[in-house]
């Protein structure tokens, strides 16, 4: 259990650094697409995490990303909102017999269809909250909406590819 916590914390720190130092300056399509890869660390939290912890961890992680972008509060609020929805959504997506003990919310453990629904919708919620809070208004609606969709897609692609690269199928059998 202790190892699990350390692994999750290290993963989050690593992803926040990647987000702050590399992804934020990628400048895809003149900055129109802006993936948030660090939410992978939040989506990877164990299924048994207490509900409050999703929000607290989200707040801290979001605030760390905010420190890089000088936008204190924006990412934090988006992550808290996602952390609020996340456990509800996990329950909604649970297989009929419930999750097995030790099952992780990953592509390898629960299949690609499950993962894309899980990560895709939560990433969409996160980006929607993020970009509209950032603007503080709804005015360039379709412009922002396109930005949300494309950024979510980019985030999802990166997360799926990342999992194929990092976690090999043999990993699962060892477990």
């Amino acid at each position: 259990m202790g190892g699990e916590i350390i692994r999750n914390v290290l993963r989050l720190i690593f992803l926040i650094l990647i987000q702050g130092l590399i992804v934020n300056s990628l400048d895809l399509w003149q900055g129109y697409i802006l993936p948030s890869v660090y939410i992978f660390g939040l989506l990877m939290l164990p299924i048994t995490t207490p509900r409050i912890m999703y929000m607290v961890i989200g707040f801290v992680a979001g605030a760390c990303v905010d420190m890089f972008t000088n936008t204190l509060g924006i990412h934090a609020s988006a992550c808290v909102f996602m952390g609020f929805i996340q456990p509800l959504f996990l329950r909604f997506l649970a297989p009929r017999e419930g999750y097995e003990v030790g099952q992780r919310p990953t592509l390898q453990d629960l299949g690609i269809g499950w993962y894309i629904t899980y990560a895709g919708i939560l990433a969409l919620i996160h980006h929607t909250w993020l970009f509209f809070i950032e603007l503080m208004r709804f005015t360039p609606f379709f412009y922002t909406f396109g930005k949300i969709l494309l950024s979510t897609l980019a985030t999802l692609v990166l997360m799926v590819l990342g999992q194929y690269l990092i976690y090999s199928p043999t990993d699962r059998r060892k477990k």
């Binding site: 409050i52 929000m55 707040f59 979001g62 204190l72 509060g73 808290v80 603007l135």
Partner: protein
């Protein structure tokens, strides 16, 4: 009382959610008022140093183009340097010039972090209060406008660039002199908008827009951009002008901070005037 505790327990998750959201939004709103908590600022030590390390690596890879840029700048400066001029008269030489007073000083700096993809972008530079930087100083790059220093720490400063939706700068048409105001709508980092240029002006596509020099941030005549398109919206008395920024915010590497030596004097006078009007 017991039922109250039961109620709180029942909705404690939602309550935590509300508290954290209110906290985040409160931070955000404070942030928008520019009273940013300095301890979580990109000018702070941790992220500042991390950004500097990254810039060192990135700059190593960019050395060639930076060299070319500097060489060009050198050549330009060399042509205006003193040995290139003939001295026509040698009977007038002043040690303490009473005719001219130095008003603007330039402090050069390096961009160590730069964003262009958000509605409220910021630039972090590697000069801070130890180098004489203060809040509210203008920043330019090769003679064209970059932004205004918003916050300084010992060794870093963060600059609010033109491409920040909270930014506005007084400008004028170079050709005919009408003044207006530049703002950014948060979309394209190469374009801004000029408002309040009076109807009587006669702008043309390609006209140059420069700083007005009214504020204490910038001297007059700093290049802002060129007119791409203009129109008068229905029922208004002012032009709305689309402006192509002359500063390439995507590829900023070196900047100069303008120290206005007389800014305190100007501000004090203006404030005194306002005080009298108010009273």
């Amino acid at each position: 009382m017991r039922s109250l505790w039961q109620l709180i327990y029942r909705y404690h998750i939602f309550l935590v959610f509300l508290i954290l959201e209110v906290l985040a939004i409160a931070l955000l709103v404070r942030n928008n008022n520019y009273q940013r908590a300095t301890f979580v600022h990109s000018a702070n030590k941790i992220t500042g140093n991390l950004y500097e390390k990254r810039t060192e690596i990135a700059e190593y890879l960019k050395l060639q183009s930076i060299n070319a840029e500097l060489a060009k700048e050198n050549a330009r400066l060399r042509t205006v340097s003193k040995p290139n001029y003939l001295q026509l008269t040698d009977n007038l030489y002043m040690y303490e010039d009473t005719l001219y007073l130095l008003r603007y000083e330039y402090i050069s700096g390096r961009v160590i972090n730069n964003s262009v993809n958000r509605p409220n972008n910021f630039i972090t530079i590697d000069k801070g209060s130890t180098n004489g930087l203060k809040k509210e100083m203008g920043v330019v790059s090769k003679g064209s406008i970059v932004g205004i220093v918003k916050d300084v720490s010992d060794n870093f400063a963060s600059v609010m660039p033109m491409i920040n939706t909270n930014m506005s700068v007084g400008v004028r048409l170079k050709r005919s002199g009408e003044t207006g105001e530049v703002t950014w709508d948060g979309r394209d980092p190469s374009k801004v908008m000029v408002n309040y240029i009076s109807r009587s002006a006669n702008p043309l596509k390609g006209d140059t827009i420069i700083t007005s020099g009214f504020s204490t941030y910038f001297p007059e005549g700093i290049l802002v951009g060129t007119i791409e398109d203009f129109r008068i919206p229905e029922g208004e008395n002012f032009y709305t002008i689309d402006l192509l920024l002359s500063t390439p915010f995507h590829q900023l590497s070196y900047i100069e901070v303008i120290h206005n030596l007389l800014s305190d004097e100007q501000l004090e006078l203006e404030q005194r005037q306002e005080g009298q009007d108010g009273g």
